[in-house]
């Protein structure tokens, strides 16, 4: 994914918003959301929860599902009403224990999806999350690129040791 001057929430699919925002410092996101949503009415549509989820994986030999293990999971689904009367709902499910963080992410999801007042500030967070994700992706690709095996015959290329 590339970073441009367009609105991030227009470029990045909603299915990736929470992934990108969760790369950021939880306190930063919570503080931004608290500031932005001051005076808004935010009520849970379902009880915010922190617990575990079973990770089900398909074995790629015989295509049978099995449980690889468990992961932490926090979930939130909120209804948002702004002082101007705009109404939206947003939700988040993240592999963390932090309920305050997941509720803030759910509010971000609602703000971005419905372009609520001040959504540009959350869009900026999305941009920061994307930059962080890109750095991580780059780091991983570096690992692969630097260790790619060249199976060319030895007499067809210069010996690695001589470089």
């Amino acid at each position: 994914m590339s970073v441009t001057t367009e609105k991030m929430s227009s470029i990045v699919d909603r299915s990736q918003w929470i992934r990108l925002l969760s790369k950021l410092d939880a306190e930063q996101v919570v503080a931004e959301v608290n500031t932005l949503s001051s005076g808004w009415q935010i009520t849970p549509k379902s009880l915010p929860q922190s617990g575990l989820a079973m990770l089900k994986l398909e074995d790629s030999a015989y295509n049978e599902p099995f449980y690889l293990g468990e992961i932490p999971l926090a979930t939130a689904w909120v209804d948002i009403v702004t002082p101007e009367g705009s109404n939206a709902d947003g939700a988040a499910q993240v592999m963390v224990d932090n309920l305050e963080f997941v509720q803030a992410l759910a509010v971000c999801d609602g703000i971005l999806a419905n372009r609520l007042p001040g959504y540009e500030r959350i869009d900026e967070l999305l941009r920061q999350g994307l930059e962080q994700c890109n750095r991580e992706e780059q780091r991983r690709k570096n690992m692969l690129a630097a260790t790619r095996v060249d199976f060319s015959l030895l007499d067809a290329v210069e010996d690695d040791d001589e470089n």
Partner: protein
Amino acid sequence: MSYVAIKGGGLAIQGAESLLEYLRTEQGEGGLPLDLATIQSQLRFLHGKVMSEGGLYHPELAALAIKQFMGDSLEASFALRAYRSTKPRLCETPILDSSKMRLVRRISSAFKDIPGGQMLGASTDFSLRLLRMDLLDESKETFQKTTAQWMKHTKTDAIPDTFPKVLDYLREEGLLPASNPKLNMDAFDITREPLIFPVPRSAALATMSRAETGSLLGIAYSNMRGYGDVHPTVAEMRVGYLPVMLPHPVTGELTEAGEVMITECEVVAMYEDDDEGGKPVFTLGYGACFGHNEVKALSMAILDRSLQKGMKDGPSNPSEDPEFVLLHVDGIDSMGFCTHYKMPHYVTFQSDMDRLRTTQEKQRNKQKKEAQG
């Protein structure tokens, strides 16, 4: 008489616990407490092992467990698994597809030219097992410089986000059983149901994925050395990050909730005839676990194959016996049984001594009678 009352045991136990804490901090002013990020980064293989054997992918708490138990991987895994039992289960993921992994390593011992190429990633496979004495007095500056230098000068344009699987290539060649997704098949939940044999393959895979590495290796090694005939070829070993997808509560669309680092291994084993008259194809074994742990994933893949054979034809050696393998590979179960022998057995041992003395007395009487003629 079942119990022996003793005085002062509580104080001794408290003393033992506080002594453990003293040892953890005995460096005093000359030391610093281990920080969790350092454990996650510099003890990454131990850290992955604890998450895998604890059955919970929680990087922060796994690091805490390692710190608390001073590197004892069994105790740390035990604490992680105990923690998970205190938390509610909210849901399970849809069936995740490991071909979506964001790789940091992929190799094959079956072909050199695998589609997408081989990337060694971080590996000790080619390291000389010689101690690096320069690390004895490694400076902070040297430590930090290594990272900075490594990240420079690498072209990554040709690296895709995901890679095709070697098994898919072999399937296209007609050398493997056809792909047959079983989306409606139930998976056995070993955290809620006891293993009552025979168990489905999903129970075996789940048990082995959180098994103790050394236990899996030991039984797999027995197969490799001759108590079995899997003769595996590693079609693909991959290490990377698997995106965890969950349906979004509002849109229903699959949304990424995070990612887990896993190691996955697929082995190709001896071919066999099709029972229903189809063409012979290679058999397969599969292994996967949390963290970067190739020995575990490969051992699991070998045992998956040997257990399939045992389930089909009946076991002809220990590694083909599901009951033998699956009931003896869990580190926490086996550690618990082992360490319980340290608990007081005063009454049972008193009984053993009484019986031995009685038997000795009987023997003496018998010998006396025989001597008297």
